[in-house]
């Protein structure tokens, strides 16, 4: 085999100006990334803007109740396509013991998990879930950017209830109760969309316990043209 002639290849020429530009660019990218993850960059994810049509949703074991801006209970939240909506989530467990019990009684009116409507074992299931610490819900609206996890556990006392709980949604809002969560979104599609309790894991691992998989408010968000 012929011997290849040795050719000295000059190394690439260094460009100090390019190095300076790249260094500055990288420094800027690093700072922006840091700010973004601290939530301080202009393009960082934003929280609720609290604008548009206001609704209140009460997730309870195991269902939802909805209210309009005047705290009138409604079957469905009706808006127009393109509307901004701010939804306040008021967990039933954040309300007084009696109010929570009233909401939970609604569950008994429906058949659930193979148990007929009115079966007292549903009540036992709710009590069992509370004993297990299954007190939170993850609220989602299908096809919409709504995904809110409640944070009520830290306000509950040893008995699993709050000492000075507001008796109603309106009172909780008036008091600016710390358990209230809000989300603002814009409706982009026409139709009726379900409000659901999204389970917490791919295996259906429950955040709110036994009944979470039946926590579906069918067509509770109605978007009209």
């Amino acid at each position: 085999m012929p011997r290849a002639p040795a050719v000295v290849t000059p190394p690439p020429r260094r460009l100090p100006a390019a190095t300076a530009v790249v260094t500055l660019g990288l420094a800027a990218a690093t700072v922006l990334t840091l700010l973004a993850f601290l939530g301080k960059a202009p393009f960082a994810p934003t929280g609720p803007r609290e604008e548009g049509t206001v609704f209140y949703a009460v997730p309870y074991h195991y269902g939802f109740a909805f209210y309009d801006a005047a705290f009138r209970e409604i079957e469905a939240m009706e808006v127009r396509e393109g509307d901004a909506v701010t939804l306040y989530i008021v967990p039933a467990l954040a309300l007084s013991e009696q109010t929570f019990a009233d909401y939970a009684e609604r569950t008994l009116k429906r058949p659930m998990g193979g148990l007929p409507a009115g079966d007292l074992r549903i009540r036992e299931k709710i009590a069992g879930d509370l004993d297990l610490g299954n007190v939170e819900h993850i609220i989602g609206i299908s096809a919409h950017p709504v995904y809110v996890t409640t944070d009520v556990a830290r306000t509950l006392g040893d008995r699993g209830r709050r000492a000075d709980a507001p008796p109603s949604v309106a009172e909780a809002v008036r008091r600016k109760d710390p358990t209230i969560r809000a989300v603002t979104f814009t409706t982009k599609k026409v139709g009726a969309f379900d409000v659901i309790c999204v389970d917490s894991g791919p295996e259906g691992g429950a955040t709110c316990g036994w009944g979470h998989q039946w926590m579906v408010a069918k067509g509770a968000l109605v978007v009209r043209r």
Partner: protein, 469 residues
């Protein structure tokens, strides 16, 4: 380079023209760069639900699974298409694939004290510890943060140091991927060692020339005897003026027994990689509750306790893994009855033999995850398509599809572990023959390592069985 003892299998001549294309690596990176961009956006801005977040699910189920499987067949092929390492290279070269006459950066040599696998192994352990402690792989935001840190880290290291110092000496995956690439069924090597030694003065494959760059991983293919640092970019193939580099098939795992200079850092790293998959799950299952209870009085309850407890067990588990392999190497030395072979050498060789078992256990862990969460892949894809690329929309309820029942999953896992055990036994046998010229001494030395392999397999089978109905 050319190993007379190695079994030479055919070259893959059909793909050589593809590998020689100047833009081969760049074109290979483009699709993964696009996917990584979507993964980064969706995990950073997208829905926080782990089962609806495309970035999270793609990273920890699809990518991780594909990576583990690819290691067996293609070695470090992920590094070939990884856009993270490429970013630093592009900035440094001021080019995407062509040989630029200019360069940016400071081109410092990587510090001598860090020219080993200690740092990447420590970073790998750090990541696994954080994942076990705070659930990195369950958090879209932390996943996005990890990708961003890796991207910026690769860019900075590429700017300051020469070649792909990040990929070789820093990337937390480099020790895991590099070590498991030793099991691969492919290798990129020189065809004829005499040409490299006697006919080639320029060593273009290492230094580069006017048309192409030298090896970005700072390997000299003429002396390379393992896949440890070969990212299959084929730059050596393109720059070699003698057409003396080829991609070929080989006996899988050949590097484990054929490597000429097994290094201690690599061997320790191998025990860490294997220990994380075998010894550590055992300790977590048996000791974590005890350690957490013990710490409960000293630390505030919550994640801090868990993080510290997991950290303690990690330290203990890694030390135990290395100590166990060293102890069995000492037994192997005693059994062989040859005082001329130091325990350290036996440790440095036999530690690599355990890699197939470690990879098999990782695959077994993954198969359980994959069979249980398979239904989520269409869920996250649907969620991403509803709001591309931000992934902020809830697509509905999570689909729970258990592809295989728990017992079936366990049988698959057991089969994987047994496959890993056989592979490890074969590698240990070949290593023993290399260490001891006499077959009796070799066999005697092999027996304790075989015993350790059986023990680790039983540990794996037991930890996988916990929780079975």
């Amino acid at each position: 380079m050319t190993r007379p003892s190695a079994r030479r299998l055919p070259e893959l001549r059909l793909v050589h023209p593809l590998l020689r294309l100047p833009a081969f690596q760049f074109v290979a990176i483009l699709p993964t760069a696009a996917i990584v961009a979507v993964v980064l956006l969706s995990s950073w801005r997208g829905i926080e639900h782990p089962s609806f977040n495309f970035g999270l699910m793609f990273t920890w189920v699809v990518w991780w699974g594909a990576l583990l499987v690819s290691l067996l067949v293609l070695g470090r092929a992920w590094c070939l298409v990884c856009p993270i390492g490429a970013v630093g290279e592009w900035l440094q070269r001021l080019s995407l694939w062509w040989r630029s006459p200019y360069t940016a950066g400071y081109h410092l040599r990587w510090p001598g004290a860090l020219r080993n696998m200690w740092l990447p192994t420590a970073l790998f352990v750090l990541f696994i510890w954080l994942d076990n402690g705070v659930g990195f792989s369950n958090s879209p935001r932390m996943t996005a943060g990890l990708i961003a840190v890796l991207l910026l880290g690769a860019a900075w290291v590429g700017l300051v140091f020469e070649r792909r110092a990040f990929c070789r000496y820093v990337c937390p995956l480099t020790s895991f991927i590099g070590l498991n690439a030793l099991l691969s069924a492919f290798e990129l090597r020189g065809r004829d060692g005499r040409i490299c030694r006697t006919l080639c003065d320029t060593k273009d494959c290492f230094r580069g020339n006017a048309r192409r760059y030298g090896c970005p991983m700072a390997e000299f293919p003429g002396a390379m005897d393992t896949n440890l640092q070969c990212i299959l970019c084929a730059e050596c193939m393109r720059s070699c003026p003698h057409d003396n580099v080829a991609l070929r098939l080989r006996v899988p795992g050949q590097d484990l027994w054929e490597m000429r200079r097994p290094r201690l850092d690599g061997a320790v790293s191998a025990t860490v990689v294997v220990g994380l998959a075998t010894v550590l799950p055992l300790m977590m299952l048996t000791l974590l509750p005890v350690v957490r209870r013990a710490l409960a009085g000293a630390l505030a309850a919550g994640e801090a306790t868990r993080l510290v407890a997991v950290g303690l067990l990690f330290g203990l588990g890694i030390a135990a893994s290395a100590a166990i392999v060293y102890a069995f190497s000492a037994l192997a030395r005693r059994a062989a009855g040859d005082p001329g072979v130091p325990t350290r050498l036996l440790f440095a060789r036999y530690a690599y033999a355990l890699l197939p078992l470690g990879l098999a256990k990782s695959l077994a862990d993954l198969s359980d995850h994959l069979f249980r969460t398979w239904g989520v892949v269409p869920d996250v894809t649907r969620a991403l398509m509803l709001d591309f690329p931000f992934n902020q929309v809830v697509p509905g309820r999570v689909t729970a599809v258990h592809l295989v029942p728990p017992l079936g999953t366990y049988l698959v896992q057991a089969a994987l572990l047994l496959g890993g055990l056989l592979f490890t036994l074969y590698a240990a046998h070949r290593i023993s023959l290399r260490l001891f010229p006499e077959r009796d001494a070799a066999f005697a030395s092999f027996l304790p390592i075989a015993g350790l392999s059986f023990l680790l397999t039983l540990v794996g089978l037991w930890t996988l069985a916990v929780g079975l109905p």
